[in-house]
Amino acid sequence: MEIADTYYSKDEYVETASGNKVSRHTVLCGSQNIVLNGKVIVQSGAIIRGDLANVRAGRYCVISKNSVIRPPYKQFSKGIAFFPMHIGDHVFIGEGAVVSAATIGSFVYIGKNAIIGRRCTLKDCCVIEDGAVLPPETNVSSYMRYTAKGTIEGGQGNPYFVPAAMQDEMVNYTKSFYEHFVRTPAPAS
C-alpha cells in the first residue's frame, strides 16, 4: 500500500547530510548527545532530552508530532542516574507518545499517545497499541502486541496480533513514509 505524500514547507524542516529531516519546532536538548543515524524524521513539537543522557536512533525512524523521548532514570541509594537510550532501525513512534524506555529494538511500532514507562525494554518487531500505558520496567518480547487494555497478546507464529512479516512491513512503511515526506514544491512563477 502506498502512503499519500505529506508536505512540509522549506522553512520548517532542516535536512542534514545523512538525510535526517528535523523540524525547527522541536526541543532537542543537549543536541551533542543525540545521534540520529540517518533518514530519521523528527516532526514538530517533538522533544528529545539529550541533556539527561545519550539518545541514539537507528535509520529510518519516525518520531511524530508532540512525542517526548526521555531517557529513563533509576534511583540508587546514592543519587540517581539517567541511562542512555537506544532506538533500533525502522521504528515508528506515534503522535503524543511519551517514551522512557531503556532500549527499543528494530521494527517496533508505537501507537499514538502511548506511554512507555521508565526502563521498559521493547524487543524487535513488537507493537504497542494507541493509548497503551506500560508500567515501568515492562518487557515486551518480539512479535508481541501490548494492547490498550494492558494485556500482552500474540507471540511468534501467532499472526493474529502481530503479522508474521512485521519486519518487512515496518521496513516498507518507514521507508515509504520517509520517501513521501517531501518538501512542498515551489509554486511555478
Binding site: 522533544i47 532514570y73 540517581i80
Partner: protein
Amino acid sequence: MESNIKIFPKSVVCEESTLRGDITFSSGCVVHPSATIIAEAGPIIIGENCIVEEYATITHRLQPGASWDVNKILSIGGHNVFEVGCNVEASRIGDKNVFESKCYVGSGVSVSSGCVIGAGIQICMAQQLPENTIVYGQQALQREAIEKQGSQTLQIDFLRKVLPNYHHLRKPNYDPKKARSVV
C-alpha cells in the same frame, strides 16, 4: 494579562517554559523546558522542591463569570512531581503528590498529600482525595498507599546540576532575606 513571576533562589526554571500570570516558585523548584503554568483566576504559589516536566500544564482556570482575584490563590505544596504531559487544574494541591504522565485532574478536585495519580487517568468530578490515595488502572480505582512514596530530592539534586549546563534559565529574582532587610 500581566506576567509577574517570582523565582526564589536555588530554583531552576527553564526559559523555554510558558508562564503566564502571577506565579511564585519557592526555592528548589525545577521546571523543564516547554512546561506550561497559567495563572488565570489568581496567583499560583508553588512550594519547595517541585518538579514540573515537559508538556505538563498547571492551570488556575477562570470560572465562567469570574474575574482575576488577587486573593484567590492556588497554593501548591512542596515536593510535588508533575510528569510529562499531565494536565492539572485542581483547586488545591498538598505535599508530596505525583501526577504521572498524561493524567488529567479537573477543577474542583482537591488533592491532599501523598497522592499518586496514575498515568493516563482522568479525574473530572469534583471530589476530595484523602491522604495517600493512589488512583490506578483502567477503571481509575482508588486505594490507600501501603508504603510512602520515595522522596524526589535525589532527582532534584541531579537536575539542578545538569539543567544549567544545557538550558537558558530564568534568573532567580526574589530573595526573601533581601526583601526583609528592605522592610
